[in-house]
Amino acid sequence: MHISDGVLPISVTVGCYVASAALVAWSARRTRNEELPKLAVMTAAFFVASLVHVPFGPTSVHLIIPGLTGALLGPSAFLSIGLGLLLQSLLFQFGGLTALGANALMMGLPALACGWFFQRYKGRTQLRQAFVGGLAGAAGTALAAIILAILLVAGGEDFFGVAKIALLAHIPVIIVEGVVSAFTIGFLTRVKPALLQTSFLRQTKAAHG
């Protein structure tokens, strides 16, 4: 779920912009300068993954994957998400530029938190990694929903109802997201564990000399 333009009060909008600009700057500093193109290409992959729809009963939900992004990209995740949102608002007709800051915070903060959580607790066994990955995936979406609700509530008590509905609407996404993330992480632990080392952008670089 993205926030569209004109929903948030102007003070919140600007505040979010400032906060996410700072986080983007931090995230960019944590990524090596030369490797930024790589991050751009990976962003495209995350973008495509977020277009996947999964049926849930009579409706279908589409994945948001902040948790997975964080688990795979680590500190660079915020930059990647910001980029993805910019791309979406520029080219895919969704979301104007004014809500960009709020949306980046909504997706990026959970990504950072879950990335840290995953790296901290992933352990060594495949099963545990998949489990922790699933938790991170679910938590990512849950956090995103909570931040969305908080941002909405910042608009005053008139928005309480909308915030509640938005939270409820995310419950199926949280479940689906958690399970899919667990399977994805499980797949990666078996097939390409190198991807789960957060600083993977850095490691491969070293190999290239």
Partner: protein
């Protein structure tokens, strides 16, 4: 201050109030979507040996406006619109955006797609807010069949309508900003305004590989379909989707490495070459000034008139 005004209404009028607009919106959306897709299909026959927008369509005022002025003006205007808090100025803002749209002569179908993308979110507001907004003094609440808990607050409707109007006005503004210059030029303008050059290049790269990965994902999903995969609500589907995403990441990661190699092999060392240089003319600034005045007037109207 008056108390909450309760107006009693029979239940069927609720249906009238809700279902008919909803049905109307749905039908509109479906019809508009069809129209939009039909008109946004790529025309293959065009001559690709000349730059896009150089073929006569790009003669409007906005097309020859300096891109930096354009970005600043439209961004400032968007924020101005976002800061409106009353319905009437917001409606005026839609009017202004539409005028700009006509001046810029951009593709109407693309604007429609943009509008369609926000319908879901906006509709949620239109439906939820009238019922969820707490009743204040001076509010008019429609109560159906004496069910007090289901009061339809007109103030809520007005609030939601304001939000919707602002969203539409801004969404309409985006199209003249983006389609009156090729994307690289717009992004370059952004970088000349202080954003790092790398941001623009990264957007372009992502955009380029988005297409590649989408195509790859499409082929993979048809590979799954050929083997009988149908999405259902069960664990097997989620497992398959999890594998699918994992595979997508692995392939993209490998491609990322190759792309990076290809860039290095052609001399990339952390910097992209500079694209076209820009020239600022008085005319550009004049246009920006006029426009920004309009934005300021809108805010003034919003703040003073109410």
């Amino acid at each position: 201050m008056a108390d909450v005004i309760n107006i009693q209404m029979p239940l069927w009028q609720l249906l009238l109030l809700l279902l008919i607009p909803l049905a109307a919106i749905t039908i509109m959306v479906v019809w508009l979507r069809r129209v939009a897709y039909k008109h946004s299909a790529p025309e293959e026959k065009r001559d690709w040996s000349v730059p896009p927008l150089a073929d006569g369509s790009g003669t409007s005022l906005l097309h020859c406006w300096d891109v930096r002025c354009k970005i600043v003006t439209i961004l400032v205007c968007s924020f101005a619109i976002a800061s409106l808090s009353h319905l009437e100025p917001a409606l005026v803002a839609i009017g202004v955006s539409l005028i700009i749209l006509v001046v810029a002569r951009v593709s109407f179908a693309k604007v429609l797609l943009r509008l369609l993308a926000i319908t879901g979110f906006v509709c949620m507001f239109l439906v939820v807010m009238p019922f969820s907004v707490p009743a204040h003094n001076g509010d008019t609440v429609l109560v159906f069949n004496g069910m007090d808990w289901l009061g339809f607050n007109l103030r809520g409707l007005r609030l939601a309508a304001t939000i919707a109007a602002k969203a539409i006005a801004i969404a309409v503004l985006m199209e003249p900003l983006l389609s009156t210059a090729p994307l690289p030029v717009t992004l370059h303008g952004l970088s000349r305004l202080g954003a790092p050059e790398m941001v623009g290049q990264m957007v372009l790269l992502s955009y380029r590989y988005l297409h590649v990965f989408r195509h790859e994902a499409w082929r993979m999903s048809s590979g799954m379909q050929v083997r009988g995969f149908r999405k259902r609500t069960d664990l097997a589907t989620l497992r398959a989707v999890g594998n699918f995403i994992g595979m997508l990441f692995v392939r993209s990661f490998e491609r990322t490495e190759r792309v990076f190699d290809a860039m290095r092999a052609r001399g990339y060392r952390g910097r992209f070459p500079e694209p076209a240089e820009l020239r600022l003319r008085t005319r550009d600034l004049l246009l920006a000034a006029v426009w920004l005045t309009a934005g300021a007037a809108l805010i003034a109207y919003d703040r003073i008139a109410w």
